[in-house]
Amino acid sequence: MQSLDPLTILIAEDSAADRMLLSSIVRRQGHNVLTAANGAEAVEAFRQQQPHLVLMDAMMPVMDGFEAARQIKLLAGETLVPIIFLTSLTESEALARCLEAGGDDFLAKPYNPVILAAKIKAMDRLRRLQATVLQQRDLIARHHDYLLNEQRVAKAVFDKVAHSGCLSAPNIRYLQSPYALFNGDLLLAAFTPAGDMHVLLGDFTGHGLPAAVGAMPLAEVFYGMTAKGYGLSETLREMNAKLKRILPVDMFCCATLLSLSFQRRSVEVWNGGMPDGYLHSIATGERKPLTARHLPLGVLSPQTFNDRTEVFPMAVGDRVFLLSDGVIDTCDGNEQLFGVDRLQRVFAANRQPYALFGEIEQALRDFGGEARDDVSMVEVSLLEATQLTPPALVYSDSGQSCPLDWSVNFEFRAETLKRFNPLPYLLQLLLEVHGLRAQSGALYSVLAELYSNALEHGVLGLDSSLKRDASGFARYYQQRNERLEALQDGYVRVHLLVAPQGKGGCLVVRVEDSGKGFDVARVLERPLDGVRLSGRGVSLVRQLGRNASWSDEGRSARVEFFWEALA
């Protein structure tokens, strides 16, 4: 009987002899005893001393046991304070009254100490069980709050990273749940130094924090490499390798990556495991599906990863629309999927492009789908290059160590040309020269143009006239990939010369290639229009750089940049 921890037990009984007897029995069993001679005293004793358990006579003067039981249960709240009614009541009606008043058990007179001890023990077990349940409930609630708070913090941190991009650019419209991150959805956008726009819509496997943790390193790679001028392929390879390295096997990230070039009027696409995106040509009304051709990021080893992209021409006003699987996988009450056909019908019915998201949402609601919070959509349109102003780059160094008189020569040979993009390195090197920073966009565009001309038309011998129409455009990039893969010989040489000039300076860029050259005079005869799909590179170089010239039958291009004294 002494096995349990001593309890404090309130005995409410108006008969002095019964009270005395019961007190002795209970005390002998190792518990502390409080006594009350009527219901009112019992409630008061409970209020002041919170006993663990109450033995309550039903019939008492002043306040009977039923009323006292009700009040004590009220005072106890969620805590279980078992009440055992002491009664010689035998009528079932009276026993029911005890239960209705909150009684948990009965003890009949004459008292039997063994039965009483057993009942106290059973009630104590119940009381502890209830206390444990409450404790665990509170613990779960605390954990839940903690989790929500963690999500808030994670979201705040992540928003800082995500919003470092250009999602607010005037040519981007998107729709995403504020907590999409915790559904694994991810939307990033940033300008390259040349003014191209990179956009990523990703969908990590899983939900909650595990789905969100991969987003941070992915965003870092995306923003870091885009800002440095890396192309989609390099960025994709790095993202894939990083996710493969850090994520568990069953976690990966479906993603579509876009690179919109406002100057070349084209979009480069890589889709790994996402639903079809759509390239909407305003002129023809056609919506060209941008289909997944790859496994998601983080699945394949760096050796087997395929970074091959597709390039499509775009006209000003054309749009690329991407969506997460939350849209087409929305289920109705009969487990039917919303599906691609229904989406296409919404497309077909759409008249006002800006209303498209709303119409898709309405269609999802009409479909009777449960509202999903992992519905992400983004639409990027091609504007005139001049309509967008990429944000100015911020530099943190003082400029005291700026190099002003140097030159450097590079020769990139076949094996390197296949897999390495030297432009980010060259640009970083040049941007050490403070005077060039203000024109980093032009500088990068010209470098990129000269390099890709030297590689594609020179080394790979691709005919730029292919790009005159849309189907030729696709063929051109297909050939580019094939020839690059098969490349054995050839080189691209880059010469950079920086020299001070008065209080400013001058940069001379020379790019040579091992190709066949081209009819310089004929190309230069064309007006500087910059609108045709082909031959635009030369115009662009002449517009953005100074004194552009070609020699050695077009195999050597030369262009200069100047800067004045810095303020």
């Binding site: 005395m20 019939m59 004459p110």
Partner: protein, 115 residues
Amino acid sequence: MADTHLDPNVLSALQEVMEDEYPELLDTFIRDSEERLHLLQNSADATQLMEAAHSFKGSSSNMGAVRLAQLCHELEQRAKQKSLTGIEKLVGEIDGEFAIVRPLYEAEKQRSLSE
């Protein structure tokens, strides 16, 4: 004779539980019972009568006063059914029974004190 009024097994169990307080318990019961008899005799209505009989029945049964408890039970039932004819005779019997058990309890007290 005593066995029809007091259950000796109950008394020895009580003594075991109460130890030194046993004589005091007996005293308390005698005092308590006098109050309850007074209540029985002065009940204003059937409900009061029933409640007083019920309480008296409970403590009598605890104290092993088997016949007293039995009479109180009858009174409680009668009061409950509101069949009050001849009820005074029943109250009188309870009074008589208490007059019998009271000296028995006092003797029991003396016996335990002299142990």
